[in-house]
């Protein structure tokens, strides 16, 4: 890509930042900290050694919640999608649980796990689990019959059919599902930390507001969350570029 084209989004963000700074300095009422204050806030956090600590705390919870959900939801979804009867039994249950926001589980999470990491990991897990089950179910049902028939024709055992044909043919769809779900996990972590724990970026935002209206820190927390979300998404996207995964996008 043309380097100038690559720079365009950065240039656009720079223009917005300047606009933000100008608007804040012209405004008579203080309703939002300007970019310079936010940068000051971030520097403050770094100086107190909190930035890294909070980032690690949030990422720790997201990783556990997300990975646990993926490890459980994908095999369950694939199995349920593969067997029609299992799907008939399981699908209504998934559809009932799926629209319940993970936030609605907060009281129960606290009741079961107390106030702490486990409760917020549980909430993130819930936020990821049902969408991932659905993704895996849909993916396995869209495996073209010719692939399965070809595999049976070559004498593969049922387990080998799943491992050598069904699994690779659902990977592209699973990756998209994982990418979207990782975004959901990152959304849920903030809410989970606002209630249940005393570290992390979500906690930072609530704490900065409660302990002296430090809105520079509130916005600093938001900016950091956004940036980490961007990096996570880029990481997941780079997985989609792996050739043996990417086939469904490049197919004519």
């Amino acid at each position: 890509m043309n380097p100038l084209v690559r720079l365009r989004p950065i240039a656009f963000i720079a223009v917005l930042l300047v606009g933000w700074q100008v608007a804040v300095s012209l405004s008579a009422v203080h309703i939002l900290p300007g970019p310079s204050e936010v940068v000051g806030g971030i520097v403050d956090l770094v100086r107190h050694g909190l930035l890294l600590k909070y980032m690690v705390a949030s990422l720790f919870r997201v990783t556990w919640g997300f990975v646990l959900a993926a490890v459980l939801a994908i095999p369950i979804g694939l199995t349920v999608g593969w067997y029609r009867r299992a799907e008939m039994a399981f699908n209504p249950l998934v559809q009932i649980f799926r629209p319940i926001s993970p936030l609605a589980w907060i009281p129960i999470a606290i009741l079961w796990f107390g106030v702490g990491d486990l409760a917020s990991i549980f909430l993130i897990f819930l936020g990821c689990f049902f969408p991932l089950v659905l993704t895996a179910m849909n993916a396995v049902q869209s495996v073209p019959a010719v692939y399965v028939n070809a595999a049976r024709n070559f004498g593969l055992s049922p387990a080998a059919v799943i491992y050598r044909v069904v699994y690779p043919s659902v990977v592209p769809q699973l990756l998209v599902g994982l990418r979207i779900t990782l975004g959901v996990a990152w959304l849920v972590v903030v809410a989970a930390e606002m209630i249940a724990v005393n570290s992390g970026l979500g906690f930072l935002i609530v704490d900065a507001r409660n302990a002296g209206n430090r809105y520079d820190l509130v916005v600093a927390g938001m900016v950091i969350i956004g940036l980490i979300g961007l990096v996570l998404d880029l990481g997941m996207r780079s997985l989609e570029k792996v050739k043996s995964f990417r086939w469904s996008y490049s197919e004519d």
Partner: protein
């Protein structure tokens, strides 16, 4: 393979495959559609038979039954005297080029059915069939990087690599452009002359059938049955401008034309 099959031949002996009174009916929403009605066909060892018929007449259904993917409503398919009960690696079904596995390279696809071989045997086999179908230099390519004709050759190579004694081809060149299709027919004949598998080839293209087959089984409209078997007594390579070729082609046109006029 069981010995008894060759010691005590069943009725319809000598044939590699025999379809005996095959009928097929599908029910959907309480309606029954009769697709095949009393189809009888014998195919000899190493023979190349085309099943020709109008679109939707049930020729693919017949082929899927022969390959063991479907069970007939009545009648039986016998191969080497044994009733077919399911798909078997000794006889491979070649789909249109969409049957190749897009997540595997050319090598990976050709080696797909060779999981029982040692690594070195497998590599040898892969190299042989890469060469046979002319895909040298593309061993590490993914199907998305190949043309339609190359994908089709890849699928044929994947089928041949397991040394099947039968190939079922379901309109394998239907999605290719007409020039590639001609080349592919020549390739297939060359491979068949080298390997001498029994081939059953489904097509709706009369020229294709007359160019390729030893015998052409012409099917009627639904519920389909075999209305005529035409022996193509022209040696390969066939002169497609010769009087005999045109004569046979014309005869089949008549057959199908009559079927449509009713």
């Amino acid at each position: 393979m069981s010995v008894s099959g060759s010691v005590i031949p069943s009725p319809g002996t000598g044939a590699k495959l025999s379809a005996e009174h095959i009928s097929m009916a599908f029910s959907r929403d309480g309606n029954t559609t009769n697709v095949l009605r009393d189809v009888n066909l014998e195919v000899g060892h190493g023979e190349f038979v085309c099943i020709l018929g109008p679109s939707g007449c049930g020729k693919s259904t017949l082929l899927n039954t022969m390959a063991g993917f479907l069970s007939p409503s009545s009648g039986a398919i016998k191969i080497d005297g044994e009733v077919v009960r399911g798909p078997d690696p000794r006889r491979i079904f070649v789909f249109q080029e969409r049957g190749v596995f897009p997540w595997l390279t050319v090598e990976g696809n050709i080696g797909f059915g060779l999981f029982k071989l040692s690594r070195s045997e497998r590599d040898q086999r892969i190299a042989h069939y890469v060469k046979l179908v002319g895909l040298e230099g593309f061993e590490k390519s993914y199907p998305s990087e190949l043309s339609g004709g190359m994908k089709q050759r890849l699928e044929v190579a994947r089928a041949l690599a397991v040394n099947p004694d039968m190939l079922f081809l379901d309109e394998p060149f239907g999605a290719l452009d007409s020039i590639t299709r001609l080349t592919m027919r020549r390739e297939l004949l060359r491979i068949w002359e080298a390997e001498r598998n029994t081939i059953i080839f489904v097509t709706h293209d009369i020229d294709e059938a007359v160019q390729l087959a030893d015998r052409v089984a012409v099917m009627s409209d639904r519920p389909a049955t075999i209305q005529q078997i035409v022996t193509i007594d022209i040696p390969h390579p066939r002169d497609i401008g010769s009087f005999r070729y045109l004569d046979l082609r014309h005869g089949i046109f008549d057959q199908l034309g009559l079927a449509h006029k009713v």
